[in-house]
């Protein structure tokens, strides 16, 4: 298991290196790197000073090393718009996005998997058909539209919940979280619901398909022949077997949900990293865009690594193969 883990970490490291090289090429070799470091509307003097300071007149390979050095130190430059170090900017917005994403993903899984299993166990019952209908909607309807409808129904028409922005926050482990306050929760609910629907639908469909397939296998027949109750079969055999694809999807989709938060944050004016990137794109705040790319890449590689490890933990057949 350890050998497997180390092997994966090394691979992840190599991939990060490759991506950094790609970003570097894209920004420094192809584009004009000066645009990433300072705003286009500064004086010529400051421009030349910056070029010297960042060594942009140096040979390319030296620049790459400097670039890597800066990355490792966490120096992504300063945002044009906010005029603060990009890394600090991103980190200040990260808790909001994490909160939103975690709430969405946990909610989707906690509800989606049991409902999906039921739908797979009794595929022809009316409840199952209802569940599947809802999942089709959650799956097909674009997130942004659901967000609109939610705002329209709950905020504008009924006035039960706020239409946007984050609620009050309190500090936990030195970071500001809003789910600990009641006000924070009311603000969190709609965006989290919006974001979770897609994931929920996916979990339901996965759990249903998996359950349905597994219920037809000999494993279940044999278990029944041995006298196991349906509940035991579902809990011990089916759940363990569908856990593998579900965890995989959970992990991969966590990243996707994080990405989709971009849309939800825009609609609900949720001050997270997603909204930051959209704003940066429209204001051409390039340091933020570059930093965002690199951090996202890093994050996804981490997620993949975790999923691989979890996968091996869940499916014992893989441990021997991969470590070999």
């Amino acid at each position: 298991m350890l050998g497997f883990f180390i092997q994966r970490v090394l691979q992840a490291f190599v991939v990060m290196l490759v991506i950094s090289a790609m970003v570097f090429t894209g920004v420094y070799a192809v584009g004009n790197p000066i645009d990433v470091l300072i705003s286009p509307d500064v004086t010529q003097l400051i421009r030349e000073q910056t070029i010297k300071a960042y060594g942009l007149d140096q040979p390319l390979w030296k620049q790459y090393l400097d670039f890597l050095g800066r990355l490792v130190r966490g120096d992504f430059g300063r945002s044009f718009v906010y005029n603060m170090p990009v890394l600090d900017l991103i980190f200040s917005r990260l808790p909001a996005t994490l909160e939103l994403t975690l709430a969405a993903v946990l909610g989707a899984t906690a509800l989606g998997v049991p409902l999906g299993m039921y739908a797979g166990y009794r595929p022809d019952s009316p409840i199952s058909k209802l569940i599947m209908a809802i999942s089709i909607l959650g799956f097909s309807v674009p997130t942004f539209w659901i967000g609109l409808v939610l705002i329209f129904v709950f905020a504008v028409s009924l006035g039960w919940l706020p239409a946007g922005n984050r609620g009050d926050t309190t500090s936990l482990f030195g970071i500001q979280w809003s789910f600990l306050t009641l006000n924070g929760l009311t603000h969190l609910f709609l965006p989290a619901l919006n974001l979770s629907l897609f994931k929920f639908a996916m979990m339901v469909r996965l759990a249903r398909a998996g359950t349905r397939e597994i219920m037809l296998t000999d494993t279940v027949k044999f278990a029944r022949a041995a006298g196991l109750s349906e509940r035991t079969i579902l809990r011990h055999h089916v759940l363990r077997l569908i856990a593998i694809p579900i965890v995989t999807v959970f992990g991969l989709e966590f990243g996707s949900t994080l990405a989709f938060a971009v849309v939800t944050e825009t609609i609900f004016s949720w001050p997270g990293v997603g909204k930051l990137i959209i704003d940066s794109i429209s204001t051409l705040d390039r340091p933020v865009m570059v930093a965002y790319l690199m951090l996202v890449a890093f994050f996804f590689i981490m997620i993949n690594l975790s999923v691989d490890v979890a996968y091996a933990a869940l499916d014992p057949r893989l441990r021997l193969k991969r470590a070999a």
């Binding site: 089709i136 097909s140 309807v141 674009p142 942004f144 609109l148 825009t266 609609i267 996202v296």
Partner: protein, 293 residues
Amino acid sequence: MRRESTPLSRFWDEFRLNTVAMVALGVVVLISALALSAPLISPQNPYDLANLVLTDARRPPGFVGSKGFTHWLGTDAQGRDLLSAILYGLRISIQIGLIAGGIAFSLGAMLGAFAAYFGGRIEALIMRIIDLQLSFPAILLALVLAALLGQGKWPLIAALVTAQYAYFARTAHGAAATERSKDYVDAALSTPLKASRVVFRHILPNCLPPLIVVATVQVANSIALEATLSFLGLGLPVTEPSLGMLIANGFQYMLSGRYWISIYPGVALIVLIVAINLVGDQVRDQLNPRLKR
């Protein structure tokens, strides 16, 4: 005495039995027909700026405009007849969805099949890149590309293709790799048949079912992704609004009660996507060998 039936006719026979899928298919066909003939049937060309009368803007459904015809679904912020805008928007959405999907399908399938055909280091390299790309969410990729390439139809399509070809590539590779290790390929290769013929007439047809399954998911995804990108402001120019942009434009008016500007385009979009997904679901269920039916 049983009739000779081809796989396709058997497929269709089983499909026909499912009412929901048939209705959905009907909806898709209807919407496509309406959208394709948009220039012929819509009361107004929403892209011709000269046609628009600003004083007609933001009017509720049923309003009779200054040009003399009724705006059945109201008008938007620029004075466009919403019904026409929706029809044209559907047309663009379907167009882009199909084109992007089609290119992604072909590119991806070829890439995956190539990788499987060549094997060895080339295959490993290609698949590693594909896997890498697949670990990034489509929306981020599309976002970044759209931001880099700017607005317009073809940059949008490029972004969509880049976001999607990897699914097709991986599926094609998986299917081709399974097929290539099967005995019939060895048998076919041992005959005087050319290798390319073996690939095209023997391997590829067996790879089609999983590819079709992916395609059914991706067509709807394409359309949704395009709408999302347009909603976020990346994609088609403001003068040629797709459904996503219409919805975005109308968002601000929703809070003041002028719901129709966002809601109706939204409904049109939803109906299209849901219908495609329902048809896709049925196709997928029927092509799934592991479901005993």
